[in-house]
Structures are given as structure tokens and as C-alpha cells.
Symmetry: none
Subunit: 212 residues, 4 copies
DNA sequence: TCCTAAGCGAGACGGTACGTCTTGTCTTCCA
DNA sequence: TGGAAGACAAGACGTACCGTCTCGCTTAGGA
């Protein structure tokens, strides 16, 4: 069962380098990912058919289904790599330490999201208005929430008059951010990412400070 | 053109009795609304087909399309009445004046949402996990945002060192609320609506105050 | 379940005239039968796809499957009417009584088959060389065998030194006839139907007489 | 081009030992033949896929196509050896001269067929009811017809009031025999091969005699 | 005895047809 | 005569096979 939806499709047998997935397979998968992302920029995601994708990728129908469960699976896996970019950016940012604008920033790490959305604005916009945006937003929200919860629970451990569950706070801030992000994209990004992020932070910071 | 998506499909010609929608028509429409809501509680919204609905409502296929554009349209119109309940609750609440917990509450009016969601929790949960939740959430967000923007712009008009656009603030607060609301529903409402609302307000109030 | 493979798809509720199958349905079915027969004359039966048929008949895919189980079912039902022609011809011929060439002829009734095959030679040839000929031949064989068995068993009832089972004799004569028929068609009918039938009868008659 | 459908895939270069097909090749081919015959006894021939065959034979897909054009080709070549058995039996029988029951027998040589079918009854039955029977029957018919035509044309050459073409007579007798043979197999061979052959001969002999 | 080409397994791949499903339109019948 | 019933065209879906192909491995036969 060469199927997907399992984080590690390629076992990668440790030492030497094993038999890494068969180069053909890799090319096929990438072709399909590419074709889908291409198409998303051209037409609404939910109007894209499997046939469209395989025509674009020059791939047989059965090959598609040998690699992915369906259109959603393809998208999801495709977004994974974007998610990982995001994750990495966040990690790097965290490593830098609280160099600049106060503690809230390093907790929120929201800057990374706005910058990332800006860099991939075509994709983001297409996804949000095309019907398949939930994956993307959910992925983003998940990352953001996770990062936040980690920071917050650590803070709680060190004290603080905290009365609101960490999970709620994280959801609150994540939802607020995604909401602004969505609006910003829908409005064709009337501000640079730094500005919109600054707005977000000035709205979020008071809430965080009140928790202390 | 007997179609829908226009707020008032039945003109209702003023005085006497006009041509009041033909009682049969009314019954058919209600049957369809009812059938859909029924089905939503049984299976994921996006797995419900038009065939399911008309079977349940004992109605012919063409009849369905004579009244509604599609499944979405039926849902949307069905939710309209719920939206109106909500709207009315908000209006009443506003009229009461700032009786209780300070100004923020009356601006936010979030209590109404949590209470409403609690009252209709089966429907809300089904919708959110069933793929059709966007309508509901969007409807909610729209109402909430609208109310907020009205209040905020009024405030701005009267001064305040406002630097963040009203629209952004409204989106911020609305997104945060819907996010908490969603979490609360998904977690099977571990708190009463008053408590979760209180959490929301204590997170939101500092942001509002900082704007002043 | 409006499906086929049941002798009487149209219930035909006796008296008045009921609701006879919906004229549309009749037209659709006929269109499909026609399309298939058309196509059979153009290309090998087993190279014809369902898509070919419905394109030719201007019919939707699902409509096809609403009426027939598959390509075979369509063919089978289409041949039924041909089978009925044949059956009727045989009945008429039998009614005439033994007007001419002796008893054997009236028992064999083979003339009818050769004439029928001649009249429908395009179809027969296409079917035989196209891979779907078994239906046709089996149908023919069945009819022929049935007629024969009736005659023979009657004869047995009236005595005769019969030692070979009726079924065997019938199969023997039927197989011989179909074999000649097939050859005759494959050779592009080098003789008129009367001649080939005469050959068949002069080969078959001695066997029948020997049974007496 | 290592392909098949050419009677002699292994040229067998005369003297010494040449390049004797590579023992591996031989083993592979036999494995495939064996696998197919095995499978035929288990399920309908036309439901057997190439995948089934190569799984059973533990052979790679490409290997299959290196040796045979397709499933049909494999079957055909597999049946060749059976055909050769048959051919040889016929030859031997002929050589014996008219030892027993008169001339007709030696002309017809039908006994060989019934005996052969009886000996391979499992295969015959599976093939006939499984959709791939045509090969087998055609092969049989071809052999039978050929033998018959040889005898008959010889007879014609020596005179006789023959008016029916040899080819027709041969087809007639061959078809009749295959028809009885099929029936006999389908009925689970209710008689020993000698009996059914006797029936066939007593039906066929009068026709032959009438030709003289 | 080594070396090299062939045979081979494994299975990815493009392609094509299948039978199912759902949608929104269109025709026909009935009250 | 207008609403209900449901047949229909359209076309996407996920599955099943086919015949071709590209890989490495193994393995025999000629050097």
C-alpha cells in the first residue's frame, strides 16, 4: 500500500541511503503537486477536477490514485511542505531570542505568518476565495496555536494570576490573527505585512499583559 | 421566476390579503427546510444530497429547484431565520443600555452569541463538524462585525487616539470570538455560556481600552 | 428498479391503457438499440464501448445504466425482437402444414433460418466476426432446438424404434445447421438461401429417416 | 523480437545443440501455461486477469509480455500441445486401417474427440462455460474438418454422385459433432464416450451413405 | 575462472473503460 | 393551468486492467 496520509511515505532505511522512493515516484508526485498549485492560481479550487490535474501533470488517472487518495489528499500533502517552511521560520525566529519589540512579539510570532502570507500571496488568496482555504487556514492556525500554547503554559508554570485556560487564550489569539490575515488578503493587502502585524500586536498585547 | 436568493420572494401586496404565497408553497418550503435540518443532525452536511432532502421531504426533484437554487440556498434561507433571532436578541440587548459590566460588554454583545449557540448547540455542532459551518459562522461573524463597527466608528467620530482602522479591530474581535466559540463547541461546551463569554470579554476588554 | 433482464419491463396494466412506460423511455431505449446495431455494422462488437453507444444515441451515461445492466444486456434485449421475428416465422411456416417437400422439411424448418439470416446478413456477419455472435447463434440454436424437440418427442410418442435421446438428435441437427450457416455467412453466401438449405436438408434427411 | 504467435519461437539451429532456448525461458513459459490452466479450473476464463496469472506463476509483468502477446496468446499456445495430442491420436487411428465398424468410422474419427474430451473433461468444461471455449472448440473443429475434408475429397476424386461441396459436408458433420460434444459436457457426461460417439455415428452415417 | 549480456522480478506508469453518483434542466401528467 | 414527479444529459468520481517501460539483481555461457 503505497498510499499517503502517513507522515513518512519513504521509510528511508537509515545508513547508506537505501532505495530512496524510486526517483520516478518523486518526479510524479512533484508533478502532481505542481499541477495542482498551478491550477489553483487559474480557477477555483473546488472547480478543479482530477482530470484537470492529471492532464496538466501528464500523468495517468490510475497513477494519481496510486499516490493520493483524492484531490484533498494531494492538496493537504502539498501544503505540508508549506507548513514546514512556516514551522521552520517560527523556529528560527524563536531562536533569535527576544531581540526587539518586547516579550509579546516573541510569544506571538505573528510576524512570521504575515510575512509568509505576503510571500505566497497568490496561493493564499486563491485558496481562500476558492473553497479549499480551510486546509491552509487550519494548518496555520494549528501551528500558531501550538507555538502559543507552548509559550503560555511555560509562563503559567512560572506563576501568574492566570484564570483563563491556556487553550482558550491560544484559540482567541489565533482566531483573531487568522481573521485579520484573511481580511488583509481579501482586501488585497492594503498595508505592508509589518504594518498589519503591528496592528495585530497592538491589539493582542494588552490582552496578554492583562493576564499577568 | 419563482426563485430565491432575493430576500423577499413573496411580494406580499400590502393591504387585504393579496396572493399570500399559496399555502401549499409555504408547506413545501417548510418541509424542505425541516428535512435539511433533520438530516444535518444525522450526517455530515456535505454528504447530504439533494436526493436525500427531497426523499425526506416527500417532494419531487423539480419542486426543490422551483423553490431553491441549490442545497446551499436552502440552507442559507433556513439559517436566515436563525440569523434574525440573533439580530433581534442583539437589538434588545443594546436597547437595555449598559446595565451591567461596563461599556465593553455593550459594545461586544458577545453574550448573545454564546447563549444562542448554547440554545442551538446540536445544530451548531453538526454544522461546524459537517463542512457547512462556514455559512453559519460567516453569518454570525457578519452580524457581530456589523454591530461592532457601528459602535466603534461612532466612538471614533467622538475622538480617541485611534490608529487602527475600525474594520481591522472589528475583524480582530469577531475572529477571536468565533474561534473561541468553535473551540467551545468542539470541546462539548465544558463551561456554561456565561463563563466562556466572561473569558472572551476579559481577553477583549484590554484591547478595546487600549484603543481609547 | 427499472432494470432489465426481466422479460416484461413494461407492466401494461391490462384494461384502459394505463401509463405505458412513458413515451420518453421508449424513445430512449430504442435510440440505444438503434445506436448499438448501427455501431455493430461499423466496428467489432467487442471494440464498442458504452461511451460510443451513448454518444451515438445522444444519451447520458447514467441514462444508459438506468435502462440496461451493460452492453451485453442491451444487445441481448435488442436481439430478443429479432428472435421473436424468427419465432413467428417458424410458427407461420408450421401452420402451413406439410405442403411441399416431405415431412423432414416441416420438422426441420431450417429454411426459415437461412432466409432470416439472408435478410439480415449484415447484422449476422458483423456479429459473427465481431465477437458478440454467441448471443445470436445461441438464440438461433435455442429456437431451432426447441422446435425440433417438440416435433421429435411427438414422433417418439407415436412409436418408432428410437434409441437416441431426442435431446441429442436435436442438438446434432441444430449444431450442424448453425455450423453450415456460419460457414455460409463467412464465405459471403456463395449460394442463395434455398440452395444452402437444400444441402442441409439432404444431409439431415437420411439421419431422420434412419431413426424411424 | 522474442515474441510468439510464430509457430517456432525456438529456431533450433540444426546440428549440435545450438542455442537451446535457455532453460530458464522454458521454465518461465511452462510456469505461465501451468498457472493459466490452473486458474481456468478455478474461475471463468474471462474473469482471469494477467495479474492473476503472473501472481500465480511468480513472474514479473514484463516477463509475461516478453513471452506472450496477451492472455489469448498464452491460452492458444497452451492449447497447441493439446491439439497436437489430438492430431497424433487421429493419425494413429487412421493408420490402424478400417479395423472395426465400417468405413464411416474411419472417416469420421469422432471417437478420438470424445475420448480426448473425456480424458480432459475438467479443462473442457471449464473452457466451455468460462467464455474462452471458442479457441478449444475451434481448434477441435479445425482438426476434425481437416481430416474429414481429406477423406471426402479423396472419395470424390474416385467418383460418387456428389453434389454437395466437400466443405459443406465437412462443416455439417463437424458442427454436429461439436454441438453434441458440448451438450454432453454441459450435461456432465451422462454416457461414456463410446456411447455418445455411437449415437453421433449412427446419426452421421446415413448422411454419408446417402452421398455415395 | 571471471565477465558480460540476457533473463528476470518488481512495479511505476499512461491510458482507457467501467459502473456509480450527483447535479440542474426539461418534459409530462394530474388535480 | 401550475405544481409535482421523475426521466434525462452531463460529466466527475474512484476502480480495474492493459501493455509499455525502467530499474537493479542474478545467473548462465563464452572468453
Amino acid at each position: 500500500m503505497p498510499h499517503s496520509s502517513d507522515g513518512n511515505p519513504a521509510p528511508e532505511s537509515g545508513s547508506g541511503d537505501g532505495r530512496r522512493v524510486d526517483r520516478r515516484v518523486q518526479r510524479t508526485r512533484e508533478g502532481l503537486h505542481h499541477a495542482l498549485l498551478d491550477l489553483i492560481l487559474e480557477k477555483r479550487y473546488d472547480k478543479i477536477t482530477v482530470q484537470d490535474i492529471i492532464d496538466r501533470a501528464n500523468v495517468g488517472r490510475s497513477t494519481f490514485y496510486a499516490h493520493f487518495l483524492d484531490k484533498e489528499d494531494l492538496l493537504e500533502q502539498g501544503l505540508r511542505q508549506i507548513g514546514q517552511q512556516l514551522h521552520q521560520s517560527m523556529a528560527e525566529r524563536s531562536d533569535d531570542g527576544p531581540e526587539g519589540g518586547g516579550e509579546a512579539d516573541s510569544i506571538l510570532n505573528s510576524h512570521v505568518f504575515f510575512v509568509h502570507a505576503y510571500a505566497n500571496r497568490d496561493l493564499y488568496r486563491a485558496m481562500i476565495s476558492g473553497g479549499g482555504g480551510d486546509f491552509l487556514l487550519d494548518t496555520g492556525r494549528k501551528h500558531f496555536t501550538a507555538g502559543l500554547e507552548a509559550h503560555l503554559s511555560e509562563r503559567v508554570a512560572t506563576g501568574g494570576k492566570q484564570e483563563i485556560p491556556t487553550a482558550v487564550v491560544a484559540r482567541y489569539l489565533a482566531g483573531a490573527m487568522m481573521s485579520i490575515l484573511t481580511w488583509w488578503l481579501a482586501e488585497d493587502m492594503p498595508y505592508p505585512p509589518e504594518t498589519i502585524n503591528a496592528m495585530y500586536e497592538s491589539l493582542a498585547r494588552p490582552s496578554l499583559e492583562a493576564l499577568r
